[in-house]
């Protein structure tokens, strides 16, 4: 295991993480919410190892617990993603409204499969279970926003173009 001192955090990132921790009153039980927010501080939407170590240290938690949580929850990542991770809903209400066609179109247009990132680091394609927008199917969720009724290639293209 690499020790945190070999990967120093920038003072700017430390300050940003401190703000997140403060807004959660440095409460270790709020770790899931803290990691979700720290993940979004990173342009590539993940929790880097030095940040995980820093948070563990600040909250007096074991690093293994932090990584257990990072690995357990689908919405958390310890690996870099793209600037725009595209989450495609694979649950039944979206599936019967052709979310597979949406996924296939995304794969074709971006030239990537699930779990892969485009060469320019803009998009990652992720397959996730229900995000509670069944009434807006077929939909994708990108950085917390739900983009709905993506039932034609034109709409999908327009969405991809709008995300720079």
């Amino acid at each position: 295991m690499i020790s945190p001192t070999e990967h120093p955090l920038s003072p700017e990132m430390k300050a940003k993480i401190d703000l997140v921790l403060e807004s959660h009153d440095f409460d270790p039980t709020q770790i899931v919410g803290i990691l979700l927010e720290v993940q979004d501080l990173e342009p590539l939407h993940y929790v880097p190892e030095p940040s995980a170590y820093y948070i563990a240290q600040k909250l007096d938690m074991r690093v293994t617990n932090v990584f257990d949580i990072l690995c357990f929850y689908d919405q958390l990542s310890d690996k870099p993603r793209a600037r725009y991770p595209i989450q495609v809903c694979s649950s039944i209400a979206c599936r019967v409204n052709d979310s597979e066609a949406l996924a296939d179109t995304l794969k074709r247009l971006l030239g990537i499969d699930y779990g892969e990132t485009t060469y320019d680091g803009r998009f990652t394609l992720e397959r996730i279970t229900c995000f509670g927008a069944c009434d807006r199917a077929p939909a994708v969720r990108i950085n917390g926003h739900v983009y709905d009724h993506l039932d034609s290639e034109e709409k999908i293209m327009a969405l991809l173009r709008s995300l720079r």
């Binding site: 709020q30 357990f72 689908d74 694979s90 649950s91 599936r95």
Partner: protein, 418 residues
């Protein structure tokens, strides 16, 4: 048939970011009334209205509150389950979005009834956009003295905390949810101890769904017993349902119990393109299925009538699947959900999901044998009886129900994807 407005009566009537606006429409008068009452009477009022838990377990809510009151222990806890991970279920989203103050008020009332000191809202990460709304509601309630110490001068202390999930369906299960709030990975644990005795931080805990809680302030102010005029004898009142799948206008509706399934589908704009209904599933991914026959469509949506055709109210989700999707494909998609969301702790669920996914693949390809069909059924039974938590127990509900409703699909070798 029209939707009704009992639980949703505040929707659109006040500015959800302002406590003053909420109080102008009668906000917090239920709490003012509650603190003049005995907690047991409030539990009886809920029992009198025959409210069953709206999260899916359908447990008698009045009884739950009465039992929770009787548990001895310091620092009792109320948890509001806003994890709503069940697919086709998004009613709690509407309650949080349109009436956040009512939920906070309901939690304070629950705290008063149970003699609790803390309330926790566990909301799924997918609803993070409503976090500021709830945090603001909590902050304002605190500044008005509805939260904190000596609430309304009754010597009662209570605070509400908001916690976030992060995309794990299993965290809707009580013990998993509790572990998640404790800052751990949300893996369910063995019971006993039951959470009502030793739950969050080993404190006595009462866990309720958003909709169940939201109903309480309205019931307290319902002097004329309007709620009881809705519904049937055994299924009193109204229910929030979310209709999705192959319908023209999916959405959330508050319906009186007793509304026919046919009318529910009509409310959601009818089946897309007027197609034939292949099947309906009620209660989310863990719910059972039925065919789209006239007999089923004419069934009133009540606990007892749904039970008579082997369906459940559950989380209030209604999924309509039209003829474009085959029964086997539906089951395969549903199985993918559970294979993905299984936490992997207990053997029946972990292994069962893998094997049933494999058998469904064989069924689809027409390569399944008689022996394997029987084995699939027996694994599904074992899972439902011996899994550690509700996820494994209910994962095969749809498969077991489908095998009864659509026996023609479950044939060895050469199924024609009926």
């Amino acid at each position: 048939m029209e939707s009704v407005k009992f639980l949703t009566q505040n929707f659109g009537r006040y500015d959800t970011s302002s406590i003053g606006s909420y109080m102008n429409v009668g906000g917090f008068s239920a709490l003012r009334k509650a603190v003049t009452m005995d907690g047991e009477d409030i539990a009886s009022l809920i029992a009198e209205n025959n409210v069953k838990g709206r999260g899916g377990a359908e447990y008698d809510m009045g009884r739950k509150w009465s039992q929770a009151r009787k548990v001895h222990g310091e620092n009792k806890v109320i948890i509001c389950n806003a994890d709503e991970g069940e697919t086709t279920t998004f009613k709690d989203r509407e309650l949080i979005k349109n009436d956040p103050f009512n939920l906070i008020e309901a939690m304070i009332i629950a705290g008063y009834v149970m003699g609790a000191t803390d309330g926790y809202i566990y909301m799924r990460a997918e609803y993070a956009c409503y976090r500021p709304l709830l945090l603001n509601a909590i902050r304002q309630a605190k500044s008005y003295g509805f939260l904190g110490t000596n609430i309304l001068g009754r010597g009662f202390d209570f605070n509400v905390h908001l916690y976030s999930g992060a995309g794990a369906y299993v965290c809707g299960e009580g013990t998993a949810l509790i572990r998640s709030i404790e800052g751990k990975a949300g893996r369910p644990r063995m019971k006993p101890p039951f959470i009502k005795v030793s739950g969050l931080f080993a404190r006595p805990t009462c866990l309720n769904n958003v909709e169940s809680l939201s109903l309480v302030p309205h019931l307290l102010l319902d002097e004329e017993k309007i709620y009881q005029r809705y519904g049937t004898e055994n299924s009193v009142g109204t229910k929030m349902i979310s209709v999705a799948g192959n319908v023209e206008k999916p959405g959330v509706f508050e319906i009186p119990f007793g509304t026919k399934i046919r009318d529910i589908i009509a409310m959601a704009g009818g089946v897309q393109g007027g197609r034939r209904i292949q099947l309906i599933q009620t209660g989310g991914a863990s719910g059972k299925v039925q065919a789209g026959t006239d007999e089923v469509l004419d069934t009133p949506y009540t606990y007892e009538d749904l039970q008579s055709i082997n369906l459940t109210v559950g989380s209030g989700g209604v999924l309509v699947v039209d003829e474009r999707t085959s029964v086997i494909d539906f089951l395969r998609m549903n199985q993918e959900f559970f294979s993905e969301e299984c936490c992997g702790q207990c053997t029946p669920c972990r292994e069962g999901n893998v094997h049933i996914a494999m058998f469904l693949e064989k069924l689809k390809n027409g390569t399944i044998t008689e022996e394997e069909l029987a084995l699939m059924g027996s694994i599904a039974e074992v899972m439902s009886r011996s899994s550690l938590c509700g996820l494994g127990e209910t994962a095969q509900n749809s498969l077991l129900a489908a095998s009864r409703v659509f026996p023609e699909v479950f044939v060895a070798g050469g199924a024609d994807h009926a």
